[in-house]
Amino acid sequence: MIIKKYDHNYGRRQLLKNMAVGAAAGVLMPLDKLFAAGADLAKAYPDEIMSIDMYTKGKINTGDYLTADNVDIVKELLDPIVFDQIKTMGRRIKIRPTTTDFSVMFPAEFHAKTIENMNNGVTAIFDKQGNVITKDGKNWTGGLPFPSPKTGAEIQANLAMSWGRADYNQYAINDTVFNPDGTKAYDYEFIWAELQVQARLDGTVFRNMKDLLRFQTVYFTSTQDVAGSSFLSTWYYDQAKFPELYGYLPQFRRVRQFPTNQRFEPLIPGVTWFLSDPWAAGDPMLTWGDYKVIERKPMLGGFNAKWNGDDENWRAGTHGGPNGDTFWDTDYELSPEVAILESKPVGYPRAPVGRRLAYIDMRNNMYCGNIRFDRQDKPWVNFETNFGQYKLGDKVVLGPDGKSPAWSWINIHSFDAQTRRMSRAAHQKENKGGHKSEFSFDHDKAYSRFFTQQALQRLGQV
């Protein structure tokens, strides 16, 4: 007979208490202590929130699928939109074991940099304006600024300072858009490239541009109507300032400057996401506000999801919806501690969004989904994102160091719960036309290829 040290609800009760007192993540011990020591995180949580088997007392076990028949059992572990998809739209999600190894939950360099900072006493604070700086007043130097976040703002800063958690990321993306009746409406492909200028893992400031945080370019390669459109956003380090936006639109045949203060507009027809949605931090952090953790609890999510390395183009299979292809085949695991972070678009008068709830896995401070609510506080769109290592059996894609597996987002469901329209995106190996995903690439070359007006001109439709 096994004598349990804690009762079944201990973990959940303790998380609630921790939230009330503003304690750091972890139930049995602070999570960051284990993180800094490179230890297994299982020591931080009681067993019943580390295993779906134990949490449900065997009603749902690792390896099972969540379906309409059993999803009610774990309703409180899912965000309401994912629950609805499983319950009413034929979505199925496979349960995987809870990950306890911190090192597979980050890009290796980001993980190492964060530990290095912790060991060297490099910590972050907010300056008077609310921007992240080191305690000695310098701009943030890379890695998680707040490895043991206690406030909503600290959690948001962990998301905002480095989106892809690498100095350079280049994603080849397919975005398939489904009409409410399940028919495919659009099949877009584009490249999304990010170059960190500061908060870099190599400790440098790219080309000494000390007023900038990052460059980001989105470059559409298909369909025909949007191919050759590209947009370059230059982000200031000051998160109260809107990025500069230059765009190449095929009809204009040249690069023009565009305003950037409207962040709640569909960039291309059909899609459900706004620039505001990606990374749960698509807008400058200080243009949003009222960051508040409203709940901490175990949840199921696409944490450490399976990378589809057995597909030539890294794409997952599909299922569900009216035509059996609305949802990616995904796996979820139970995270022992997820912070539900509420924030509001305080800097956007007449924004259609009332608030946003982001579901943050406290093990790695990464979101797995964020739901924006309309002004009537009705759930609107869930930007569900699955992250994981790019390793499957003996297949692996290496990250920037050329040794460790890459870690990134794998796929996205951006579902409009009000119109029932779905944007289903895949981080794929290559787009039509030979545009590839890159994790390891010369930064100067990347700058020339994506982040100058010369680059934008070249990327544009001739």
């Binding site: 858009v177 009409n179 028919t183 495919k184 409406a185 659009y186 541009m209 007023d211 390669t221 298909s222 369909t223 025909q224 109507d225 191919a227 200031y236 300032k241 809107f242 500069e244 009809q251 204009f252 045949r253 040249r254 023009r256 400057q257 565009f258 305003p259 950037t260 203060n261 409207q262 709640f264 507009e265 569909p266 291309i268 027809p269 059909g270 899609v271 459900t272 956007y348 008068p349 007449r350 924004a351 259609p352 309309d374 002004r375 409009d416 119109t419 329209r421 039509k432 036309g433 030979g434 070359k445 020339s448 290829r449 100058t452 007006q453 010369q454 680059a455 001109q457 070249r458 001739v462």
Partner: protein
């Protein structure tokens, strides 16, 4: 029946190159490691239905005089007048002018008795396809080809020159213009210069189809440099539609003229140019863009096509080939600096102005006058003595002739005896005013600058009544009408441009993120068409100033933000399409007195100034986009274009937009604003696109 008529260079080579290069390529490493070929394209049906019920007045079938009766009285030419012409030579003294001695020949002419009026429900109907091939050899090297093909099913009620074959011996283009444009039904796509060639490289056209490569280039990129060599379009500047920096390419107005979606600007209108373009990022803030290429002129709609803007009483001799302009080079550079909230740009372009200028030219049509009056003049002409002969050692037009007969004299004037020209002085004055030309000065320039005209007894007219007398006499003598012949020539100019931008940041939501751009162009000694069509073109310094304000603003929670653009432009010498302002404000005979010496009643004293306002309002998920574009001429004209675009997905896009054009919103004279020239073109356009 020939469905297609091919004019231009062989299509085989570029197509074959595409096919060969796009075939399977097996390469695992080395130069072709990253080799990839991709295609995309679309098919689109485009149609525009007229809602004005008006025909294009520049076309034969829509001529405003077709249903008018005009009285014509012939007069004895002053050169034949015993008092003022021959008499004066004989020492009999006396003065004379046109209108002094009436001849017993007068009539009432109705243009429509010669030229059939047309009635069209549709201004425009084409099927278009575009295919782009992107062939990536590696990052550095890329070949891009975009082919655009158009087919016009010719659903129009159009002029056919064969219908006037029974009058005046039929319509002839003469030796300096292409018969395909004048002697049959309209050609909707040909661009034919005076030696018969198509000035546009990589273009193949017939009367109802067009195939060309707006893009056909090889690209090399390395670091911050990219080079493009081939047929390409180059666009500069922040202003939309207003071309301050945007000077490298001409515009192709053959298809839907300037009446496509305003927010698309000139996406398919820029005339591609064989050129080398270099773009170099000098540093993180400054971009250098430079080009050198073969001069390519703007392309205007052909006679009697729906949006033709040159009155079809003219025959145009485009001297692009004969004048040697086809080997002229244009080139320039632009520097653009951006420093966050501020930016600047500067450019210098040395080019041949793409619009060119127009002036009277010898018709080359050897055809004598006819009818009773014509016979009198021919007889008198034949009775003259050859100039420079013993009998006529000193030339005078009364007794000496320069040419063998009156037909040869006409060939050496700027007029030809043909149907489909100007039938009456009423028409002459009316169309001169509409075309921003000087009716009296134009007549006199044609007389002064062409000895063939003087030789056949034309002479300078001093006022309206003299002009009317002279014109009507020759129209009667022609047996119907005279066509005017003008040549298009091109002129080098240096364009200097400067610009500045500023992004406003404000706590006031409406003022926040307003992007201001100021763009200024200065061109010294720019050449303009003289409103008299004199061969002495006007050369004056011109400046153009434009201000552009861009803004995204969210007006409500329920609709996505609205993209708003406001622009204003002013020019001191010419209008938006390059017509000199001294041609503005002229009137027809109805508003003139016989003794008037000018047709200018509402002279434009200031600049030509325009305002553009546009917005784009997407709906949720951008399934619908509602848009508005307006162009306002501050002297009384407005183009108002609301539209909607529907994106239902599955590759389908449906667009509808309406062009409401009013050239007489305020002011007394519509000829004082540019927009009245398109007043006929109120229309509803529909475009259905399927992409692949």
């Amino acid at each position: 029946m020939t469905l297609f008529r091919v004019v231009g260079r062989p299509l085989v080579l570029p197509l074959a190159l595409c096919v060969v290069l796009s075939g399977p390529v097996i390469a695992d490493d080395g130069w072709f490691e990253d080799f990839d070929v991709s295609f995309n394209g679309f098919v689109r049906a485009e149609i525009a239905g007229s809602t004005s019920g008006e025909e294009n007045p520049n076309n034969q079938g829509g001529n405003l005089q077709n249903n008018q009766n005009a009285s014509r009285q012939s007069f004895l030419p002053p050169a034949l007048n015993p008092l003022s012409g021959v008499g004066s030579l004989l020492g009999l003294g006396g003065v004379g002018a046109w209108g002094t001695t009436p001849l017993p020949f007068a009539d009432t002419v109705r243009r429509g008795d010669f030229v059939k009026s047309t009635s069209n429900d549709f201004n425009y109907a084409v099927v278009r396809t575009e295919i782009e091939m992107n062939m990536q050899f590696n990052y550095e090297w890329r070949f891009i080809a975009r082919v655009r093909a158009m087919f016009d099913p010719e659903v129009y009620d159009a002029f056919d020159a064969n219908d006037v074959a029974g009058f005046q011996g039929g319509l002839e283009s003469g030796p300096h213009a292409n018969s395909a444009l004048y002697e049959g039904t309209p050609s909707y796509f040909d661009y034919l210069a005076d030696q018969g060639g198509n000035p546009n490289p990589l273009e193949w056209t017939g009367s109802n189809y067009q195939v060309y490569f707006p893009t056909f280039l090889l690209e090399y990129a390395s670091g911050d440099l990219s080079l493009r060599l081939g047929n390409q379009q180059i666009a500069w500047g922040q202003a939309i539609f207003f071309r301050v920096f945007d000077t490298p390419n001409g515009l192709d107005l053959r298809r839907h003229s300037l009446l496509d979606r305003g927010l698309e600007e000139f996406s398919d209108k820029r005339v591609p140019m064989l050129s080398l373009r270099a773009t170099y990022q000098l540093n993180s803030d400054i971009l250098l863009d430079a080009y050198v290429g073969r001069f390519q002129p703007s392309v205007f709609g052909n006679p009697n096509t729906p949006y033709n803007i040159i009155p079809s009483q003219f025959t145009v001799h485009d001297t692009y080939e004969s004048g040697g302009y086809d080997d002229k080079i244009s080139g320039g550079f632009r520097l653009k600096g951006d420093y966050g909230q501020f930016g600047w740009q500067a450019s210098f372009v040395s080019r041949y102005a793409t619009e060119g200028t127009f002036a009277w030219t010898k018709s080359g049509v050897n055809k004598p006058l006819s009818g009773l009056v014509g016979s009198v003049i021919n007889t008198a002409y034949n009775a003259k003595l050859p100039a420079n002969s013993v009998a006529c050692p000193i030339y005078n037009s009364a007794t000496c002739r320069l040419y063998g007969d009156s037909g040869e004299a006409m060939a050496n004037s700027s007029f030809s005896v043909n149907p489909g020209g100007v039938y009456s002085a009423d028409e002459w004055f009316q169309y001169a005013a509409l075309a921003r030309l000087d009716a009296i000065g134009g007549l006199n320039a044609a007389v002064n600058e062409f000895d063939g005209a003087r030789d056949i007894y034309a002479s300078v007219a001093g006022n309206v009544s003299e002009s009317v007398a002279e014109l009507n006499t020759f129209f009667i003598a022609a047996g119907g009408s005279l066509r005017g012949h003008i040549e298009r020539t091109y002129h080098r100019e240096n364009d200097f441009a400067l610009g500045a931008s500023y992004v406003n940041e404000s706590d006031n939501n409406f003022l926040n993120q307003l992007i201001f751009n100021l763009e200024i162009q200065y061109t010294p000694e720019r050449t303009f068409t003289n409103p008299t069509l004199s061969r002495q073109a006007i050369k004056e310094d011109e400046y153009t100033v434009a201000i552009v304000v861009d803004k995204w603003h969210r007006f409500s929670e329920s609709l996505p933000g609205t993209y708003i653009v406001f622009q204003a432009l002013t020019k001191n010498r010419s209008d938006l399409v390059g017509r000199h302002l001294s041609g503005y404000g002229r009137v027809g005979l109805d508003s003139l007195s016989p003794g008037d010496t000018t047709t200018l009643k509402d002279a434009k004293t200031g600049n030509a100034s325009y305002i553009v306002f546009g917005f784009l309002q997407p709906t949720a998920n951008k399934i619908f986009e509602i848009e508005l574009a307006t162009l306002i001429d501050l002297d009384g004209g407005i183009l108002f274009q609301p539209g909607v675009r529907w994106n239902p997905g599955r590759g389908l896009t449906v667009e509808a937009f309406y062009n409401h054009i009013d050239g007489n919103v305020w002011g007394d004279n519509p000829n004082t604003n540019m927009i009245s020239s398109l007043d006929f073109a109120d229309e509803l356009s529909l475009r259905v696109t399927m992409q692949f």
